[in-house]
Assembly symmetry: C2
Homo-oligomer: 134 residues x 2
């Protein structure tokens, strides 16, 4: 079921400083920041040869990463995203195995304009997993 | 400087249960557990089409992931590993930028038999970064 690792998402307090670090110190290809108001984050994409890293900075009062940054003031790895071919088939397989899908269970349109679901970290070794229909 | 994402490492309490979860529920290709006494971990490799996930379970009393699991009882993402062409050139570039390299600064031989270094999470958005000479 699991396909490519689509991205690793890192929550940061200051996306300008984090971009400078990845572009300068680490010598990576880093996009310009993009504000995604409907997702409550400003995002930067770091392009690696085989996948990408996404830096996320909170945007607005109800950002989904605000609490994470309260608990992890330096920032940290927030989630990993795996691609699946069919998000509904993936969801049903997970629910049949007893794993919990966050929210209503209906896929939402994610930051890349594709259907996504998030899985409960308690059911996956403390790891927040996003599934994205490739 | 940064090359491919070599792997994402996830610390787990019970590598047999975590392997079953990835193989069964998530439908991924999962290797048999391998005890790496000199690294203080038992490791399992999950092969994705573009990179891999490594599950790490503590091995022995001085495991480098024991403290992490004390703080994160469910487990969690422990580090990410980026490939670099020349580990010594990478180290010197990092030190010249004021970033901290863990340990003596001399590369060690990592779990894949290649030279590796770890960078200080405080200097990289709370993320433990491993660099591996590809």
């Amino acid at each position: 079921m699991l396909g490519r690792l689509n991205h690793v998402a890192i929550a940061v307090r200051d996306i300008a400083a984090a971009s400078k670090l990845y572009r300068g110190t680490l010598g990576a290809e880093v996009s310009e920041p993009e504000a995604l108001a409907e997702h409550g984050v400003t995002v930067v994409f770091i392009t690696l040869p085989n996948t990408k890293i996404e830096l996320l900075e909170p945007l607005g009062p109800d950002s989904p990463i605000a609490k994470f940054l309260e608990k992890n003031p330096d920032g940290g790895i927030h989630h990993i995203c795996y691609e699946v071919e069919d998000i509904l088939a993936a969801r049903d397989r997970l629910l049949n195995s007893g794993a919990r899908v966050l929210g209503s269970g209906a896929p939402k349109i994610g930051a890349h304009g594709k259907p996504v679901l998030f899985l409960h970290p308690k059911d996956f070794n403390g790891t927040l997993i996003e599934l994205e229909q490739a």
